[in-house]
Symmetry: C2
Subunit: 142 residues, 2 copies
């Protein structure tokens, strides 16, 4: 099954990157303003357009979600953020996996994920996050 | 085999988007400064770090390349830019296909391709391309 994958290097600590991924406040700074729910393992994060169940949470190392409500193509997909400390930065390896088909919407989501991961980087490095609805627009209707 | 896929919508005509993909001058504005060679079907585009043979070129519709020299993981991969005119914009569906493995370098290239496709969009819409070496950096050593 097709996957979306990305990698960014962030000049910050694994602890700070993990905080940005594992708290609703952190997620609000770079992905979706007003994120609610809980980002603890076994709980559900409410992003408004989608709900994500936290399948696995390893402090400073890994965050894995399963989409349990949201756009039809997203339901059942899994999102993983894997962190690695290296050479003065924290590398984030990202995957949005288990899409049923490589649809045009999946292509769109791949590009959007890149902009959001750069939003995460820019927020942590220089306080310049671009969470939705202030996100980088990549086409009409986005 | 894993693929990188992306989608951007560009407020420009298929003709102008195709020009940016099918001429060395156009490619120099958004991907790599100083692109040489020829982007005509059957010829080879010289990007410096890699050479791409133009496998298929359908004016205003499609551009398909095969990497014939470059980073080891790129050689033999295929790159497709498919254009569609719709709702006041030209949609570009991009794929960098036939990677042998979903390596960390592939994750990196996926994120870089998003930044370059946004460079293409920004160049055509407001003359703000970010071709290498002036590209958006996404980590240490990039």
């Amino acid at each position: 099954m097709p996957d979306i994958v990305h990698r960014v290097g962030i000049r910050s600590t694994p602890k700070k990157v993990f905080e940005a991924l594992s708290t609703t406040k952190g997620l609000s700074h770079w992905w979706i303003v007003g994120t609610k729910g809980s980002a603890k393992q076994g709980r559900t994060i409410l992003f408004g357009f989608a709900d994500m169940k936290v399948v696995e949470s390893k402090p400073n190392k890994l965050m894995k979600w399963k989409c349990v409500r949201g756009p039809k193509e997203w339901v059942g997909t899994e999102l993983t953020f894997q962190l690695k400390a290296t050479k003065g930065e924290t590398v984030v390896l990202f995957a949005h996996a288990n899409w049923r088909k490589a649809t045009e919407f999946m292509h769109h989501c791949s590009t959007k994920w890149a902009t959001f991961l750069l939003s995460l980087k820019n927020w942590l490095e220089r306080d310049e996050g671009r969470p939705a609805p202030y996100d980088v627009k990549i086409g009409v209707g986005d």
